[in-house]
Subunit: 345 residues, 3 copies
């Protein structure tokens, strides 16, 4: 598909400088763009690229001054970054515009399927499942018995949703993520073995939650493991049974949350962080990469680092000294000798 500068300007409520009939068919970074590409300039740091870019069209801020001639057709808008985001989103919507039911797929006769859904080949929709309108179930995806999937949900290829789980409207789950596998619960027996504790709860993903690829979210022993609305979870994250993740909390790749821990709202958890079980983490907490949290955090909005964790500033100060610890050790040893000499005088 091709769009002209004039069409795009109309969409973005912008004004054209240059040839309004020039057409583009793809989006690209200003420094990499070729002919037929649309790009944008929002960050002044990149202004240099504007004058040499091969992009056919560049979206710029209304008030952008030009230091020299520009080959590309310009579209001036209120906010170039937002405008480009709108186009990215539109582009993506077209890319991901799937509908209809591909064959072969498996839809149990007792499942209730909404309107305008996409169900890919080899998708499995089990007994009693409810699938809401406009939802997309990509190929090789599995939805277990009695799971409830809301409207406009996207399950990419190979997602697995175990029985009884609930995914509310607009949830997005990326490939290979597993929602609702058994919590890791075993009771030691007198003969040194372990007996499995049945995990009969479920997982609830509230509205607008996004889950990354190959992330695992275990079902509760009883009750629900809950991810509150708007929370965003990256790839390869482990969420154990009975955890609750607060609204709009963000969890980066390879972080792990142990059983029954309750994370507040608007918390930011960086990559490879680990949280022990049965903790409570205050709203707005920030955990830097690889932090290990072994006790509850009660103060809101503070930043932490290290394992075991400490205030982020202390973490930076302490670890910057760590490298010199052998020198400090040596110095103390030498001071001790001098002191002993002084004492003996």
């Amino acid at each position: 598909m091709q769009f002209t500068a004039e069409q795009i300007a109309a969409l973005l409520n912008g004004t054209v400088e240059g040839d309004p009939s020039v057409a583009v068919s793809q989006l690209a970074k200003i420094e990499e763009a070729g002919p037929g590409s649309l790009s944008f300039l929002a960050n002044p740091k990149y202004e240099q690229y504007l004058y040499g870019t091969n992009a056919s069209i560049v979206i710029i801020n209304k008030d952008q001054l030009l230091a020299s001639a520009v080959k590309a057709t310009l579209i001036r808008v209120e906010n170039a970054y937002s405008a480009f985001s709108v186009l990215l989103e539109a582009y993506n919507t077209i890319k991901l515009d799937k509908s209809g039911i591909e064959q072969p797929c498996f839809i149990h006769p007792s499942a209730q399927i909404g309107e305008n859904v996409y169900i890919g080949a080899f998708a499995y929709i089990g007994p009693g499942v409810k699938l809401g309108d406009k939802s997309k179930v990509y190929p090789n995806t599995y939805i277990g018995d009695n799971a409830v999937i809301g409207k406009n949900v996207t399950l990419f290829a190979g997602v697995k949703v175990y029985f009884d789980c609930v995914l509310q409207d607009n949830v997005i789950v990326h490939s290979g993520a597993v929602i609702g596998s058994d919590g890791f619960g075993f009771a030691p027996t007198t003969d040194g073995n372990y007996q499995k504790i049945a995990q009969i709860g479920n997982v609830i993903l509230e509205e607008n939650v996004e889950v990354g690829s190959n992330t695992t979210i275990d079902r509760a022993t009883m009750g629900s493991t809950i991810i509150r609305k708007g929370a965003k979870i990256d790839n390869l994250v482990q969420i154990a049974h009975n955890v609750e993740v607060g609204a709009n909390t963000v969890i980066a790749g390879q972080a792990g949350v142990s059983g029954s821990t309750k994370i507040g709202e608007n918390v930011m958890i960086a990559g490879q962080v680990g949280l022990a079980g049965h903790l409570s983490i205050a709203n707005g907490t920030q955990l830097s990469a690889k932090t290990g949290v072994n006790s509850s955090i009660k103060e809101e909005g503070k930043a932490w680092g290290g394992t075991p964790y400490m205030p982020y500033k202390d973490y930076l100060r302490a670890h910057s000294k760590l490298r010199q610890l052998p020198d400090l050790d040596k110095k103390v040893y030498e001071l001790e000798k001098i002191i002993n000499e002084l004492k003996n005088k």
Copy 2:
């Protein structure tokens, strides 16, 4: 399905206090239970909830004293916790009671399929595979050539078992786990590239092993990567080639074990722990979360922490001082000044 207090009491060998005909259809925590729910009280800490619960039936210990009136029908048993576990297990068995062969699935003519199995749609059972009686292969699961799957094994949706691997009786593997992918073995060549070393061994999961979702267990270069009977492995764990995990060892989420390391029996490995390759870890070892083990552990039954690892108590003591390291550094600097003054006198 509904069960009356009388039926449940008979099953648990308990006695009813209250209406024996009251019926329940689900299990719930005592603090969250609604009408129609069955709950239990085992931990005295939760006694308060007994008097206000909306559960229709509560299982309690035989000798539980009542501080005030209870609305729910009570079933008194020897051990409320064990009794409830029995019910959880029964509930789960009903939930997971699948049998028959769904279509379309792929069963190679040379595969040997036992009695009373469940094979879900889009499951793939390759040439020469043996699948034991009562085993369940959920949808979208792959079993490669000549793999041997014992009796009463459960492979949840989307599990992948590579060729030649062996899963003994009662093994449970959760969704997305990969059993038998190639070990990470490459030999540097003189031109700076890497040549793949063929990985021709297999993986053996002995009886009663459970493997969590999206965990990966690599096949041996030659011989077998072995998980001994009763070992429990959580989600997103990496087990490299030629590793051996001892009987009844427990490995929590996101831990990783490097190639050829031998882990003893009844070892407990917490989340995000890492073990280097070619190590030997003594029976009963306990590794706290995020521990990094870079040498063999010979003493049995000891607890360790930190990276590189040290005795757990030393780890706690050392890291509690770490935060004050900058202050210590400053103090030594000041003492040095004083000492120099003293010396110069």
Copy 3:
């Protein structure tokens, strides 16, 4: 299949000592081998096993001296290790020799399928996909719209490749790996929620790249996430959007690379390492297990450890002192008392 000592010697350009007609059907380690097995001796450390092995044939170095009688037939070659690697590879090639198209699978009419490919049952090949000659797509694998797969590529069972991604010749991807899921990009909105930033780029895996099981490689926001030729990535690794991994770089299990970081060539990254975003890592850098890298590394070929990272030797020295930190702290406290006494005199 069986091969005689004579046939194997001819293949390896070696000479037979013993019965040239003895036949073997499998490969095994010298210390575990039984009758009918072929083994090898390259490391002098294992020479003892040569005299007792039950292997029917053992490959040894041309110049290997024998301290006593050997039961097995010997094949002498220039380099026993290399010769055995050749056999391992040959064995593996036979094991993985799949071809043809199994049914049911899904091949979109607009897809272009090369010669001599293997497409397993329940594999999904989307609209516009190009699949090169001799490539193997195992069962339950998903290839999204317009993805381009080169020649002799192997996608094991359950791999997912999102739309528009490019996998060049000889790439191997293990089960459950996800190539091209959305980068983790969200812009905070004024009401405290997050808006998804559309991810419209792709992933390029260059020639001879190998990707481990359940590893995730996110597509670029715009442009490409690139893994350069010959790079080897282990299991459960997270590669974020817009990352570039240099040629022949090796990344071990559970390591993670944050967005837009550029890793040089021949870098070695051990298990559970984490790299922050927007960094540049010099060629030949070596990162030990669990290292946390939070700034760019400019010097080539150096080794690092710790979190935050420091030179590897400093890391070892500092951490070896860490355990004694409480003692050091106590000693300084005592020295302080002595100094104060001295001062007061």
